[in-house]
Amino acid sequence: MFDLKGYGPALLNGAVVTVELAFLSLALALVLGLIGAAAKLSNSRVAVGIATTYTTLIRGVPDLVMMLLFYYGGQVCVNMLSDYIWDTYEVDFFFQFNPFISGVITIGLIFGAYMTETFRGAFLAVETGQIEAARAYGFSTWHTFRRVMVPQMLRHALPGIGNNWQVLLKTTALVSIIGLTDMVRVAEEAAKAERMPFHFFIPVAFVYLALTAGSELFIKWLDKRANAGVIQES
């Protein structure tokens, strides 16, 4: 009944690509989010300005447009750079801007902006008394950040990170549009070739459903662990 017409292995490879893409983008988004939140909460007006511009720009532009810009624009930049290097140093330098890298960069940048907001809220939820106590013990700013603020804000940030992850997972499907052979791309090609859209897209939809359902359970478990010492109201 579940005959994938020989596209099975390709679909499986595609699924692996999707998961890899999602995890790498998540890592980038978390790093950018931490930096962004730290910048937004800093005293430097330049840092606040840059971080605010970043989050506003990202939240105003569709992810697909951003992805097309990075993918096609990135290639043009690389071409210009390689022309310049050839003209000045006569070194042959070229690389094809690949959809996977532009996918990771774009999704990472987009969700970095959302993570910035999540982390900012979570940092603000840490009691000021904790920070004052750390300063009273002679902790430096960096030390306070790493030892006091980050461990305590994670509990508040977790639900937000979870939501962002669920959205991120579904956004990875867009990378098929710029030519990455992920599961959606394979399914699309198979569906066109065999003229069986339901046959190929519905299993892929179920893989996404399984991924989001699995992550939901995992996030619930993490949340329970992170809040182990907290007395739940009601």
Binding site: V65, L68, K192, A205, Y208
Partner: protein, 241 residues
């Protein structure tokens, strides 16, 4: 910038001619139509579905839960592909009048977007309904209101106030998601940008301009929703402001 500088720049550039600007304009109209229609239809269906979703009987709320779970758990792109490629496969559809409608990519896209936004909106409204303060419902019951009147006069207006912020996010999200309409050959804003990119091989001019267009649309939406929010929540405004 002096105006003659702008005129000179416009004369020199090959990309932003009257023709391409018209193309962008048509794309913008398509995007706005698509998003506006799917939001209106989605919202109209979401309200009754959200009420059904709060019903205690699992045979009533279960199917609605399943619908929102599936549509929120899978990417919109897949839903669009299934509907766009799928309708042509329904046996016999090519002989009916539905084929005249669904042959255009606009309507499959509209259907996919509507189903998707309706699922998200249903959950938003449901969340707002179940967080209605119990006292409000008790008071309504004490006044002798029946279920229907309670819903209409107390629960839904109070839920609308709690839902408007999350809903404004959903609206902006939908505007941004509508960019994928361009993959099924609809010439929306993104579609226009992709056409112009491939004609001139100028990614920055094409995509940065369109990004700015989306940003303007987003800011208009943010502004409108802030007005609506202020109006709905005016009883909570601090005294004297």
């Amino acid at each position: 910038m002096p105006p003659d500088f702008i005129a000179a720049w416009l004369n020199r550039n090959e990309i932003f001619t009257a023709m391409t600007i018209m193309e962008y304009w048509d794309g913008m109209v398509t995007t706005v139509q698509l998003v506006f229609l799917c939001l209106i239809i989605g919202l109209a269906f979401a309200v009754p579905l959200a009420i059904l979703r709060t019903v205690k009987n699992p045979f009533v709320s279960g199917p609605v839960w399943l619908y929102t779970y599936i549509f929120r758990g899978t990417p919109l792109l897949i839903q669009l592909y299934i509907i766009y490629y799928g309708v042509a496969q329904i046996p016999g559809i090519q002989e009916t009048f539905w084929w005249e409608i669904f042959r255009e990519p606009f309507y499959p896209a509209l259907l996919a977007f509507t189903l998707n936004t309706c699922a998200y909106t249903t959950e938003i409204i449901r969340g707002a309904i179940i967080s209605t303060p119990h006292g409000e419902i008790e008071a309504a019951k004490a006044y002798g209101m029946n279920w229907f009147m309670r819903m209409r006069r107390i629960v839904l207006p109070s839920a609308a106030r709690r839902a408007v912020q999350a809903y404004s996010n959903e609206v902006i999200f939908m505007l941004h998601s509508s960019a994928i309409a361009s993959v099924v050959t609809i010439v929306d804003l993104t579609g226009a940008a992709r056409n112009i990119y491939s004609r001139f091989y100028a990614p920055f001019d094409a995509f940065i301009f369109v990004a700015l267009c989306y940003m303007v649309l987003t800011f208009i939406l943010v502004f409108v929703f802030r007005k609506i929010e202020n109006r709905l929540l005016r009883h909570q405004r601090p005294v004297g402001s």
